[in-house]
């Protein structure tokens, strides 16, 4: 048991490191690579860096060679990411298009679509967004209502999407629509590529509880989509949607995106006054921090197990599905604990708070993590059903025509 690269992986890592050293500056100590969230201003630099990687064969490594990738094993992607994280490069803002939508087009698109869209997507010359969720269809995605009606060689689309990351700077989107409301809900869905500059598209930012605007509402008013943009057969779009969602799950998360970590909490406890001592000397504080530690480490080591599978050319095991389910509520709990540790001063934020308000920012951001990309509750269902093989939920809408499914009074 060890943490070593295979000889082949070590060679790849050295190659990646060499190229990165020649093309980027190392991250200065203490500086973190910016995330692209709420930083549209970084998009041009982000695109330039992606294009540079593409020019030298470092983009979308796992994609087929004919589309600009290296047909590399998944572990190479992980290794490149590890090496890249040591450099001061622009944020990666193309995960949706490259992680989910490109693979969907490769799996279900026509040859023309692949030829037209894949290469610019890989280079980030064109940026993509995912038009899935709607006000009436989040966890229940197949309950979507945005309609597409055939008109000659086009489809006319009306409706609304919500939670669309990056819609405002995207060139293209992939949209799931209702094309047969008389069919059962999964059976009347069609999947399209849509030009985000089409007339009739209106984009409005959603303001989150922390003031950020990463997501949008996207309104479709008689938007025309050519039939040539259809991905998959008419009324068979759910198949493609599943491919997209499966790719969402394919990313290997390790502890990276937590924002604040155990060392931040330990330092806070060391420095915080606590009835004549410091908080780190208090039993209740120590117990809480100890529990954060083994849970965070448990997630990190579970990530190593997944990487081990990748290294062996295998699909990561079911244990990998606990990452967000455990990690998202844990982040909220840890941030809240850090604030409580500070007493009344825990309510201060930004520069008035310790660590520049990082705990407060994590606390305000954390409810979103428990909801986006699969709510806590849906993830529990997924683990119960797909990992433990327990029965699915009873569906009262399964046999009904979509248009006959009850929808409640909230619009």
């Amino acid at each position: 048991m060890d943490f070593n690269d295979t000889p082949e992986e070590a060679a790849f890592r050295a190659e990646a490191r060499t190229w990165l050293e020649a093309n980027a500056e190392p991250l200065p100590p203490g500086k973190r690579r910016a995330s692209g969230m709420d930083r549209d201003d970084l998009l041009p630099e982000a695109k330039a860096w992606q294009a540079k990687k593409a020019d030298h064969g470092w983009a979308c490594l796992t994609w087929p060679k004919e589309y600009g990738g290296r047909a590399a094993p998944g572990i190479h992607s992980v290794i490149f990411g590890q090496e890249e994280s040591k450099f001061d490069v622009p944020p990666y803002m193309f995960g949706i298009g490259q992680g989910m939508l490109g693979p969907t087009i490769m799996a279900h698109g026509t040859e023309e679509q692949k030829t037209r869209y894949i290469e610019p997507l890989l280079r980030a010359d064109e940026v993509w967004c995912q038009l899935f969720s709607e006000p009436a269809a989040g966890s229940d995605l197949a309950g979507l209502r945005t309609s597409a009606v055939k008109d000659g060689d086009d489809w006319i689309v009306n409706g609304q999407k919500i939670w669309t990351t990056g819609a405002h700077y995207s060139d293209f989107g992939m949209i799931v629509t209702r094309t047969d409301p008389t069919a059962a809900k999964h059976a009347g869905i069609t999947y399209f590529i849509v030009d985000m500059k089409s007339p009739g598209i209106e984009i409005r930012p959603i303001v989150q509880i922390n003031g950020a605007k990463d997501f949008n509402e996207v309104f479709f008013n008689d938007v025309r989509i050519p039939d040539a943009n259809r991905v998959g057969a008419v009324n068979d779009g759910w198949r493609g949607a599943i491919t997209t969602l499966m790719n969402e799950r394919a990313s290997i998360g390790s502890g990276g995106g937590m924002g604040v970590g155990i060392s931040d909490v330990l330092r806070l406890a060391r420095e915080t006054d606590w009835g004549g001592r410091k908080a780190i000397e208090d039993t209740s504080v120590r117990e809480r921090i100890a529990d954060f530690y083994w849970k965070l480490k448990g997630l990190e080591y579970t990530g190593y197990r997944a990487q081990t599978s990748l290294s062996r050319g295998q699909t990561p095991g079911p244990e990998n599905s606990i990452g967000k389910m455990v990690g998202a509520p844990l982040r909220q709990e840890m941030a809240a604990f850090a604030m409580e540790l500070q007493g009344a001063a825990g309510a201060a934020s930004g520069d008035a708070a310790s660590l520049g308000g990082a705990f407060q920012a994590a606390w305000l951001g954390s409810p979103g993590l428990r909801l986006a990309g699969g709510t806590d509750e849906i993830l529990h269902n997924i683990v119960a059903e797909r990992v433990l093989g327990l029965p699915g939920e009873i569906r009262v809408d399964k046999e009904k025509a979509f248009q006959d499914i009850p929808t409640g009074s909230l619009k």
């Binding site: 048991m1 070593n4 389910m325 327990l390 029965p391």
Partner: protein, 365 residues
């Protein structure tokens, strides 16, 4: 990245599982529980013949010459079977103590007999309720005799040899005591898990031999860390078995016209139990790595492994009863075998609270 056991190690694990499925059904645990016996003699013999007692003992001392990774997987399978034998104290504690801290003479004298199963050893640490810690040990070692009370001690009635944590001249230390010697009075005590009998041992000037290198807080803590990792694997094996049994039961049991397993409350709680077991497994793997490589991270890894495994197995022990409904509360059903063993294993090396405290000490060191 190779954060997994090897194919050979997994093959050993499969052999162990197959063996225990045949020779250690849950009825074996129940038998010891109900009869008031000390252990399953047949299983002990079988396990000795399989070479597991000496799995990590060098061949020179009569062992199989494997390592701690193999021993971890054996522990996992024994835990899964709720094996009612003194494997943990004899192997994870006494044998490990001799391997780590014994002189050549001590190793030569004791290891072959432990590896063959001819001699059963145990480990005595706790003395009274609470958290005395190593600093609070009152059993004293002076002029090669020991005096004091140890309570509870696993397998006191059965074992011929004990590794005892004592207060020596230089602080905490480990001493070897032959339990059939004079000045040793062993009394069985009732415990919550009669499948793993416990005793009180009173030492009154009994002959004791210090373990050559087993001197000082660091040494004793190190031994406990090793045992914590190996015990964690037993806890995880038991928790996995409990989850499987609960899953099977709730799929077959119907209420309101559908499987109990189809109700969301049950589904979600089993998902949580699954997650707890995976977190424990991952922490235990890291502990096994640290143990097998001698890495300094063993100190924090052992804490993470012990706390997470205790949480997972205790949760499994509670949920298996709860999700069986009323029958889960009967003597006849096997649920309480898991409930009992989970609690015992979470207490035997000190409770999770002590290990949380130790974890922060070690992170802050």
């Amino acid at each position: 990245m190779n954060f997994d056991f090897s194919e050979d190690q997994k093959l050993l694990q499969k052999t162990a599982r197959d063996y225990l499925e045949e020779h250690c059904g849950l009825d074996v645990c129940r038998d010891v529980l109900e009869s008031g016996g000390t252990h399953s003699e047949a299983l002990w013999k079988g396990v000795a013949e399989m070479g597991w007692l000496g799995a990590a003992v060098p061949e020179d001392f009569g062992g199989a010459g494997f390592g701690r990774l193999e021993l971890s997987l054996i522990a996992l399978e024994l835990g899964r079977a709720l094996a009612p034998i003194p494997f943990a104290p004899s192997v994870y504690l006494a044998t490990e103590a001799l391997l780590e801290f014994g002189s050549d003479a001590q190793k030569k004298k004791w290891l072959p007999r432990l590896a063959s199963g001819e001699l059963i050893a145990t480990f005595a640490l706790a003395e009274r309720p609470g958290r005395a810690g190593l600093a609070g040990v009152e059993t004293t070692l002076a002029r090669n005799t020991i005096t004091g009370t140890k309570f509870p001690v696993p397998d006191g009635q059965l074992a011929g040899l004990a590794v005892v944590v004592v207060r020596g001249e230089a602080g905490p230390a480990l001493a070897l005591v032959e339990l059939d010697a004079s000045g040793v009075e062993t009394t069985p005590i009732d415990s919550i898990d009669p499948s793993r009998p416990q005793s009180r041992i009173v030492f009154q000037g009994a002959a004791a031999e210090p373990l050559a290198k087993g001197i000082g807080t660091a040494a004793v803590s190190h031994l406990l860390d090793r045992a914590a990792v190996l015990t964690a694997f037993e806890q995880i094996g038991g928790a996995e078995r409990a989850l499987e049994a609960t899953r099977e039961f709730t799929l077959g049991r119907y209420a309101f016209g559908r499987p109990v397993a189809s109700f969301q409350a049950i589904k979600h709680r089993l998902a949580d139990l699954y997650a707890a077991i995976q977190l424990a497994t991952s922490n235990a793997y890291y502990g096994a790595w640290a143990l097998s490589t001698g890495d300094a991270e063993l100190g924090t890894a052992a804490c993470g492994a012990r706390i997470s495994a205790s949480e997972a197995f205790n949760l499994a022990g509670e949920e298996i009863i709860q999700m069986h409904g009323g029958v889960g509360y009967t003597w006849e059903y096997d649920c309480h075998l898991f409930y009992r063993r989970a609690k015992l294993l979470s207490l035997c090396l000190g409770s999770p609270g002590e290990w949380r405290d130790a974890l922060i000490d070690r992170l802050e060191a």
